[in-house]
Subunit: 315 residues, 2 copies
């Protein structure tokens, strides 16, 4: 099987001007799981395709994902990503903007290498997905200013911001591997539910994860009053007294362990934690259900294992 | 002939989330000459093509160009564009970054509508050009930190930052119109020289233009010590006494009419103004020469007139 990290490191950023390309090399060097790239190759293999043909699309998806992280970090003023200073900290905001723009263009340049007969379909899938990711990011920003966000809106936001890229990765791999329409749809929907389960699990871990294994401080979302699945569920389920307590903590904008502990208690008391765990199980079940439309083989077993491992992940 | 402003206004930005799309509508509404769009259509017509087929590529090029303006304005902290507040002023930096990203994606989405047989060629031309524009922008940034920039490097920078997009517009239109290789090359090179003449003329007008017709204050480049064709020529041609005077004015970072007048005097005394005028004439001549490879028709006459009017433009 293709070594995804090696395939990313093979992209050449040693060209001039280095002011443009060195930040791209840096942003792509920090590893991570390369999950989206794996999903492209997996989507290709599961329908019996040759994964080597899917590699440029996998690289394009991975470069695009890292472009979104780069620009998101500027917008969020995030200083650290995967244990290293972010590009706008190591260089500056303007560099992060321009090198990010070039990364998006580089993602499209990689698309030129997909099998020619599939280009129109893959270009459409890629641009449609990129659009949805930007829309999801905008909804996320919009939600910060609203206090009436519904859980269904939150699900739609994370579907756009997170799920569609996983879904497009799988479907794109499937297209290159020769999937039929039913298989393409199954791969796409598997990715959607996997992404939703993944993101809600993220919300849970940020709050109830083990600080030893989670890798970052617990309670970050609570400290910044982030409207997570847990928060929205708590607000929906709370009785008047609980609602008042939540409002009181939201008004306390200075981070404190006291606030984190109190909100965690409220998430349990309002059954928000239980609701989140239930939602993860439900989306995992749906993801597994989608896999039924795919051929039985070892790659499908890997996709099953991936969905199941997600429910139990600690970081 | 297609009404380019109408064709841009036909793009629909009324979709949700408006936080993402309203800034795009705003950025595209301010008009301007739509020069690049005109060049796509012109490149198509001059080789006998049907301009309607070239429209999506023309829209893609125009949306891309306005994307670069949007992000450049954030990076340059420019407050006004075509007499209106820039997007990052009317909204904020994050909006300008994200809506700009989406504009770049929208440009690629428009490419999906080009004639299918030409898609691979046009996608390659577009991405190659977009890359070069980003490289040109990076060189422009790099030059601010250097005091040994050569005129040849400056020409290469403006070729990348300005000319290649005009060239790609013309060539892309030609490709859609069925141009042969010789015609494609002629259109591209015409665009390169047109762009170089255009940019050097810009440098001249910023310094020696008529404030009545130029539309903005004269001497802006001098005030911010911008390394223009005039500045680099003056530094190259200056005798030791003149070089010392220039260095003195460069050290005066507070803008003043005195500095503007003195530098204008030095541009004349060092023959920098003459050198710039000479360069404009030379690139105009080369642009006209390229047109010889194209069929004789009224569209070619329009392209000739465009190159000639450029030498005499006042704004």
């Amino acid at each position: 099987m293709i070594d995804v990290n090696e395939a990313i490191s093979r992209l050449d950023w040693s060209k001039e001007p280095q002011g443009l390309y060195a930040p791209i090399a840096y942003a792509l060097s920090s590893g991570g799981k390369r999950l989206r790239m794996q999903l492209v190759l997996s989507g290709c293999r599961v329908v019996g395709g040759n994964e080597a043909e899917a590699l440029p699309f996998a690289q394009a998806i991975e470069v695009f994902h890292n472009f979104t992280l780069l620009h998101d970090d500027v917008m969020d003023k995030a200083d650290v990503r995967r244990g290293k200073p972010t590009v706008h900290v190591k260089w500056n905001d303007n560099t992060a903007i321009l090198s990010g723009d070039q990364m998006l263009i580089e993602a499209y340049r990689l698309l030129e290498q997909v099998p020619a007969a599939r280009l129109p379909q893959l270009l459409h899938l890629f641009s449609q997905t990129a659009t949805e990711v930007c829309e999801g990011q905008q909804y996320d920003v919009d939600f910060e200013q609203r206090d009436d966000v519904q859980i269904s809106e939150y699900i739609e936001m994370i579907r756009l911001k997170t799920s569609v890229l996983l879904a497009a990765a799988l479907k794109g791999g499937g297209i290159i591997g020769g999937a039929d329409d039913k298989e393409k749809e199954a791969l796409y929907n598997y990715g959607i539910h996997l992404g939703l389960a993944f993101q809600i699990q993220d919300d849970l871990l940020d709050c109830f994860g083990d600080p030893q294994t989670f890798g970052k401080a617990i309670g970050g979302d609570i400290s910044c009053n982030k409207k997570t699945y847990l928060m929205l569920s708590a607000l929906k389920n709370a009785d008047p007294a609980q609602r008042e307590q939540i409002a009181g903590w939201l008004a306390q904008t200075t981070p404190s362990q006291q606030k984190i502990d109190a909100m965690k208690g409220l998430y349990v008391a309002t059954n928000a934690r239980e609701a989140a765990e239930q939602a993860i199980r439900e989306h995992t079940r749906k993801a597994l259900e989608c896999l039924q439309a795919l051929p039985d083989n070892s790659e499908k077993q890997r996709l099953e294992a991936m969905a199941l491992s997600l429910v139990n992940r600690k970081s």
